[in-house]
């Protein structure tokens, strides 16, 4: 059994109502997502802004209450857990947030920020607590004398290290890294990513790595899932996805990644039109209005995520058993 099993997870937000009356419409931020994360692996989650990546990450740890479907962690179904039991589970499932500037309480010292979780969950106190925090600071490459400093005294990269130390503090097994390096300089990104990979090796962590940066995801992930308009359209081992992606959306996404080779003349698949509104996603395959290969069927019936071994594709044309193969 996988460490984390997501089944048909849904989250609809009520669309902002007009001045008069209530609109009955909903933004379908996640619309039926299923995904397994194995113990010790890193699953990358990519997709453009607004596709529901962050909502998915937060629904998993129930920072946002899911609207439907199940999340099972270590064999326990989370959505039915009462709030106190869920707080206890949060110890094992931590999240690293995108913005290292806004996500640390400006009025707390670093030692407090990192140690608070330990104290609340009753993992350490007094001198032990301080020793443990100092150890965590060392783990993320920060000096012990930072213990009594405030967040505003640090650079972005250092703050993100604090955020990571905070997530690690409570002996988490599973960490959702929500755009954990997007706010950082590229040189700092590499440092933080490599540190996260080292920590994974040392501590046996499992990551769900959410990012819009395909290169970063390729670097860190074992498997990668691609999201479009609240759904997973393709999931595959990282190497496979980047070499033999099937879904037209994935291909368009990958063709947009710049390659550091000026002589290379890439063929760039440019998508037509904008992302449709998630309030009223198109019927059938939600990608069909922009898809160069769309058939009549694509506008009528929603494709399911079908697997060929480890490679899953949700497409009537390129999926396993798709028309391409008929």
């Amino acid at each position: 059994m996988a460490l984390l099993e997501i089944r048909d997870l849904k989250k609809y937000f009520p669309a902002p109502a007009g001045l008069l009356g209530r609109a009955k419409e909903h933004v379908k931020a996640i619309d039926g997502v299923s995904l397994d994360v194995e113990d010790g692996e890193t699953v990358g989650l990519v997709g453009e802004s607004g596709c529901g990546k962050t909502t998915l990450g937060r629904c998993i740890v129930r920072l946002i209450e899911p609207g439907g479907g199940t999340v099972t962690f270590e064999g326990r179904e989370l959505s039915s857990l009462p709030e106190p039991a869920m707080r206890d589970m949060r110890r094992k499932m931590q999240i690293i947030f995108q913005d290292p500037y806004a996500s640390l309480n400006p009025r707390m010292r670093v030692g407090e920020i990192i140690g608070e979780g330990l104290r609340i969950h009753g993992l350490a106190k007094g001198r032990d607590l301080k020793a443990r925090v100092l150890e965590l600071l060392a783990r993320v490459g920060l000096r012990g004398e930072y213990f009594g400093k405030y967040p505003h005294e640090f650079s972005g990269g250092q703050r993100q290290r604090i955020g990571i130390a905070r997530a690690l503090a409570v002996n988490a097994r599973f960490i959702v890294a929500d755009e954990a390096v997007s706010a950082l300089d590229v040189s700092i990104q590499a440092q933080i990513l490599n540190m996260m990979l080292d920590l994974q090796q040392d501590l046996g962590l499992t990551y769900l790595f959410i990012s819009h940066d395909l290169r970063v995801v390729e670097h860190v992930s074992d498997r990668v899932a691609v999201m479009y308009l609240g759904k997973i359209v393709e999931v595959a081992p990282a190497g496979k996805l980047y070499s033999v992606s099937q879904h037209p959306y994935t291909q368009a996404l990958l063709s947009a990644v710049p390659v550091p080779d000026p002589s290379r003349k890439g063929t760039r698949t440019v998508l037509q039109g904008d992302v449709p509104s998630p309030i009223n996603p198109p019927p059938g395959c939600s990608f069909h209005p922009r898809c160069p290969f769309a058939l009549k069927l694509c506008a009528e019936e929603e494709p399911r995520l079908e697997f060929d071994g480890q490679h899953g594709v949700a497409c009537h044309v390129f999926g396993p058993g798709g028309t391409k193969y008929l």
């Binding site: 920072l63 949060r90 309480n105 009025r107 608070e116 409570v170």
Partner: protein, 332 residues
């Protein structure tokens, strides 16, 4: 830091001078002659002219003002026309009563306003929020003198639960000491309780407006802070909602609340003038009213200047407080 402090102190000088000029001109523009008002009806024209000369009222107004300024510079606020005592002494005898009343009102405003505001802000549009908002608006819109009169009418008049005027049953309790605070500090619970019975109604009358404002500001500040990223971080740590609210949200939400409290302390001082009159509280506010009624120029300007300086000092203390609660704010 020392330079900053010095700068602030020097910056208050023009404020004090300007206020003194304003007060000076205003009271001289008001009709009525102190000599006429204070001397008995049988006083002859010569007596009145003599008194005017003694008080310097026969001089041109700019000479009077410059004399007054020169006196302030040597920390002398002049001598009261009415009491023939130094103004500083008269104010000193009354100020503790006013300060104690202000502290009691402040306590009421903070101890009720902040929890109510946090409660309302944490659950917007709930019944708690609605109840808090009704109480808040009640406090803001209720004139303190009217509230005071109603309290006297109902609590003292109909039910006879609390005394309606003065500071104490035992005849002491003039303005010159911190009656309740001293009794509490010396462990004299009986007199402390006696003082509390007297202070409770004026403190409610004076503090309710501030309570309403504190509640509204706390509510909106909590509402804003609660959606900050670091509050989400706190939840992700697995903290329970109460800890999130009181440790992470409130600490950050307090900055605007403290600003309002600082500004309102000034209003509290001016409000105390009316409330003290309603409850016959022997503080500097009722002293000021008496001074105005008898056109006691030195006493009026002296009291107003004292209030001005208190206001400036309070706001300075509030600025210092910012640095204490928000580590990102530093003065240098």
């Amino acid at each position: 830091m020392l330079r900053y402090l010095l700068g602030r102190i020097i910056a208050t000088i023009p404020v004090v001078v300007l206020i003194s000029l304003l007060v000076f001109l205003l009271i001289h523009a008001a009709p009525g002659d102190p000599a006429d008002l204070l001397l008995s009806d049988e006083a002859s024209a010569a007596d009145i002219a003599d008194a005017r000369r003694r008080w310097g009222l026969d001089q041109p107004i700019y000479v009077q003002y410059l004399r007054f300024l020169a006196n302030i510079a040597s920390a002398d606020l002049g001598t009261s026309f009415k009491y023939s005592d130094p103004v500083i002494g008269l104010i000193g005898e009354r100020l503790p009563a006013t300060i104690e009343l202000a502290i009691a009102s402040l306590l009421i405003a903070i101890l009720i306003g902040i929890p109510l505001g946090v409660w309302a802000g944490a659950k917007p549009n709930s019944w708690a929020d609605n109840l808090g908002s009704v109480l808040g608006f009640f406090g803001i819109s209720m004139p303190s003198f009217w509230l005071g009169i109603m309290l006297i009418l109902i609590v003292s008049g109909y039910f006879n639960w609390l005394p309606s005027s003065g500071r104490s049953t035992y005849g002491v309790g003039q303005g010159s000491d911190f009656y309740v605070i001293q009794s509490l500090l010396t462990g004299n619970l009986k007199t402390a309780w006696d003082g509390i019975k007297y202070i409770i109604m004026p403190a409610i009358a004076l503090g309710t407006g501030m309570m309403g404002l504190v509640m509204r500001v706390t509510r909106s500040s909590v509402l804003e802070i609660i959606s900050e990223d670091y509050v989400r971080t706190a939840r992700a740590k697995g903290l329970d909602e109460r800890t999130v609210l009181w440790r992470h949200v409130l600490r950050n939400a307090l900055v605007p609340v403290i600003t309002v409290v600082g500004l309102e302390l000034g209003t509290l001082l001016s409000g105390s003038i009316i409330v003290e009159t309603v409850f016959a509280w022997p503080g500097s506010g009722s002293l000021l009213i008496a001074a105005i009624q008898s056109r006691d120029y030195p006493l009026i300007t002296g009291t107003v200047l004292t209030y001005t300086i208190a206001f400036v000092v309070i706001n300075f203390a509030i600025d210092m407080l910012y640095a204490l609660i928000d580590p990102r704010i530093r003065f240098g």
